[in-house]
């Protein structure tokens, strides 16, 4: 009897996921496809202070930009918002805003996010909705649809793209070391159109990201390796959980295509009751003379 009830409950959850995905699909089919051709969606202050290595992280809503499955393990709703200036050495630095929310509802976690990049006359934005579910105590799965658009006055472009992610809890691999693995496939499919007299600029290459995270004794190490047709992206981050709610972080990113571009990151976070405040400092090793990128973030657990 118990087994039958359990089976019905699982069928009920799967049915709701299907309904949700269908709703998302229909919503974007109606509102029109959009695509940003040159995207700088790289998460918030927490993500960047960890070098952008967040695909195997589960404790933040900012993971929705990196792995749609990762927020499945959140126990409580979480929202973050980040403001940043890119290349602060410029007289007119581009400005970024990022927001993310992950909200557990019964056995699934709903997630949404937005990202903007502005520098007159360029305006670029991305929206994301997705869902994550725990399929097994060790396995989580998620999917998201990302909406991108940019406009420069005379020209514009729109697109939408899908991504799928998996998270696998390896567990305790040593008495004090816990391990988690991730696998993400992004830019799975999409639809593109040009605004005004512009040109549709084609689909970004489908990318695959493999990630890992090790946690133990107040320390956390994350590593992501992303690959698409033309490039390899290696991201790594380290976090030290100090006392009094303080966290110190550092990271590095290596972007390899025709050239090798390196960025390094440092940052810190502070937790106060249900709130947390984060700061990330990012500097390109190759064009350091353009100044650093600063991001300030705030988040809350509900």
């Amino acid at each position: 009897m118990v087994a039958v009830l359990k089976g019905r409950a699982e069928e009920h959850v799967l049915s709701r996921i299907k309904q949700l995905l269908c709703a998302v699909w229909i919503t974007f089919a109606i509102t029109g496809p959009v695509r940003a051709a040159f995207e700088i969606v790289d998460g918030g202050a927490y993500a960047m202070s960890m070098g952008g290595a967040l695909s195997a992280e589960i404790g933040s809503a900012e993971t929705i930009w990196f792995n749609p499955a990762a927020s499945a393990k959140l126990n409580v709703p979480h929202a973050t918002s980040t403001y940043g200036t890119l290349y602060s050495g410029l007289e007119d630095s581009p400005v970024v805003h990022t927001g993310a929310i992950a909200w557990p509802v019964k056995s699934v976690t709903l997630q949404a996010g937005y990202h903007t990049l502005r520098l007159d006359p360029w305006s670029e934005m991305s929206g994301l909705v997705g869902v994550a579910v725990v399929l097994h105590p060790r396995v989580s799965f998620g999917g998201a649809v990302r909406v991108n658009a940019w406009n420069s006055g005379r020209y514009g472009n729109q697109s939408w793209l899908g991504s799928l992610g998996l998270l696998y809890e390896v567990g305790w691999i040593a008495p004090s070391t816990y391990m988690r693995l991730s696998l993400v496939s992004a830019n799975l499919t999409g639809w593109y159109s040009a605004g005004g007299t512009g040109r549709a600029t084609g689909q970004p290459g489908r990318s695959y990201t493999a990630g890992a995270q090790l946690i133990g004794r107040g320390k956390k190490v994350s590593l992501d390796v992303e690959h698409d047709m033309d490039l390899w992206d290696l991201r790594a981050g380290y976090e030290l959980d100090a006392r009094w709610g303080l966290h110190f972080r550092t990271g590095v990113g290596i972007h390899v295509d025709d050239t090798v571009d390196r960025t390094w990151h440092v940052g810190m976070g502070y937790e106060w009751t249900d709130y947390h405040f984060d700061y990330a400092f990012t500097r390109s090793a190759d064009i350091a003379s353009f100044g650093a990128t600063h991001r300030l973030g705030i988040g809350r657990f509900f």
Binding site: A37, F38, I40, L86, Y87, G89, L90, E91, D92, P94, L117, L119, D120, P121, W122, E124, W150, S152, G153, R154, Y155, N157, G198, R199, T201, H255, D257, D258, T259, D261, T263, S284, A285, D286, I287, S289, F290
Partner: protein
């Protein structure tokens, strides 16, 4: 290498030709060259009695200059005295300037040694090398039992460079080292001179001459035929007038280049220089020719400019006034160049009559060459005395900006196949503008033509800026990066303090159009003792 010579002749142009293979000319002044029948002019062979070390730099083993190549052995300043008996291992290096085929070295005693003969060198070593490097020295002569005050490798039989028949042969090298390897007890050493003798060609030779005409002419192309083997060089310069030419200040010409001196002119002076850095290689100058036209473009021209003083770096309106004297014998003028003034032309008038831009004339400016060019249409060509006034804006940075007018005629160009510009370089006709005030920023007044552009619409973004405070010409770079920090394009211009325009066409180094988005640009000035940058953003969209 043989430099090509054009044999094309044009109807109106006359030419003066010097065929050097036929033998020397009476009115030519020559130094260190000789004629070879059927060949041409070559560098002269070295005299066996010529001391090629005379006047060259000699240094001791401490790197200090010593007076051993000044042709004098007198007491004190013209000799080297050890002032200590411990001179074992001391050496002196003479730099001959280029590689020479050395046949003999002579070391003369200083006056101190002549007065007190015990100041002689008992043992010595003479070496030669192509480079001043410890591993490359080769022995010329060596003796440990010298008893002569004068060391002469010709007479003391210590010359070690011999052929299979034991005849002395030369040793090639640029440097000669004289080392003291032995001394008698308590003897000091006093050296007066190190002389070096060699075979082969002179290092440098020159010919000077002039073209004289019965009346004023407009000089055209200057051409020559010369063979230049490896290790040799040939240079030619020409100038107006025949007396006291400051050759050091006159630029070397390219073969076939137009005469750049003052015109019209009755006397054109020229100077050909031959060089070699190899002992047995010489240029061979076979032929020389100067084209000239007795028919002038204009009989006279006198230019002036207002204002004569402007604020440095500020855009200022100037008026250039050119008074032309044109007779019926002249070609007339429909082409004008104002060298030294890159003017954004606002208007042109002839004898007070304002011309219509695009219809009556067209203009262009060359920022790199700092020049304004004006082309008059057929209905407005100047065929009589006239005053041409050109109005426009300039931005000047140098202290003194000398403006040199050049006039030409399309008809002459058609007849002769090239425009024989007539230069108004007479000092009386040169006008100049002084720029006053403090120099601005190293890279200042940066202006972008637009912020966003589409490469698919053949648009580009141009960067106008002014480089100040630059005393020497250097590299000016424009680099474009994407937001990931990857450099997508780089442009380089070489120049001095002036206004610059550099443009990006929205393509990467492989000429592929870049992705739309925000791009970073950086303008850099490097070298010349200064460094500066300006950075900003632009947008590619399509």
């Amino acid at each position: 290498m043989v430099v090509a010579f054009s044999d094309v002749a044009f109807a109106e142009m006359e030419r003066e030709v010097w065929e050097w293979a036929e033998g020397p000319k009476l009115d030519i002044i020559q130094t260190s060259v000789e004629w070879v029948a059927g060949e041409g002019v070559m560098l002269a062979n070295l005299s066996t009695q010529k001391n090629i070390a005379a006047g060259m730099v000699a240094k001791d083993d401490l790197g200090l200059r010593v007076p051993l190549t000044d042709g004098d052995v007198s007491l004190g300043v013209s000799e080297w005295v050890s002032n200590t008996p411990n001179v074992f291992g001391r050496n002196f290096i003479v730099d001959l300037g280029v590689n020479r085929a050395i046949t003999r070295v002579r070391v003369l005693p200083g006056q101190t040694a002549i007065n007190q003969p015990e100041y002689f060198v008992r043992g010595y070593r003479l070496e030669a090398a192509r480079a001043n490097d410890s591993d490359l020295w080769r022995i010329l002569a060596e003796a440990q039992t010298n008893i002569s005050l004068t060391i002469d490798t010709l007479t003391d039989s210590t010359w070690s460079v011999r052929d299979l028949d034991q005849n002395d042969v030369s040793r090639q090298g640029r440097f000669v080292r004289f080392t003291i390897t032995r001394q008698d007890r308590s003897n000091w050493v006093a050296l007066g001179e190190i002389e070096v003798f060699a075979v082969g060609y002179e290092m440098e030779g020159l010919l000077t001459g002039q073209l004289s005409t019965s009346g004023p002419v407009n000089v055209g192309r200057v051409q020559w035929k010369v063979s230049v083997p490896g290790g040799t060089a040939f240079r030619l310069a020409s100038a107006s007038g025949g007396d006291e030419i400051p050759w050091q200040a006159i630029r070397t010409m390219e073969n076939g280049e137009l005469f750049a001196g003052q015109e019209p002119v009755k006397v054109v002076a020229w100077r050909g220089q031959m060089f070699t850095s190899e002992p047995f290689a010489t240029p061979t100058w076979q032929r020389f020719e100067i084209e000239y036209d007795r028919r002038l473009v204009a009989s006279s021209m006198a230019g002036s400019v207002l204002p004569v003083t402007v604020n440095r770096g500020e855009e200022t309106q100037v008026t250039y006034r050119l008074e032309l004297g044109v007779s019926t014998d002249d070609y007339g003028v429909d082409l004008l160049r104002l060298n030294g003034l890159a003017m954004s032309v606002q208007g042109v008038s002839i004898n007070g009559r304002t011309l219509n831009a695009g219809q009556d004339y067209t203009t262009s400016q060359d920022i790199v060459a700092q020049e304004t060019r004006l082309v008059l249409d057929a209905n407005n060509r100047v065929e009589d005395d006239a005053v041409i006034e050109v109005f426009g804006n300039v931005r000047l940075l140098a202290d003194v900006n000398v403006i040199r007018p050049m006039v030409g005629d399309t008809g002459q160009s058609v007849v002769d196949g090239y425009t024989n510009w007539q230069n108004g370089h007479d000092p009386l006709f040169i006008s100049q503008i002084s720029a006053q005030g403090e120099p601005g920023d190293l890279i200042g007044q940066l202006q972008l033509s637009q912020r966003a552009f589409s490469p698919y619409s053949d648009e580009q973004i141009s960067f106008d800026f002014v480089v100040s405070r630059l005393s020497n010409a250097t590299d000016v770079l424009l680099s474009v990066y994407n937001l990931n920090g990857s450099r997508v394009r780089r442009y380089v211009q070489y120049g001095a303090a002036r206004a610059y325009r550099m443009a990006w066409d929205g393509r990467d180094e492989d000429t592929h159009i870049v992705e739309p988005g925000i791009y970073l640009f950086e303008i850099e000035v490097r070298g010349g003792g200064v460094e500066g940058t300006r950075r900003g953003t632009c947008v590619v969209a399509y």
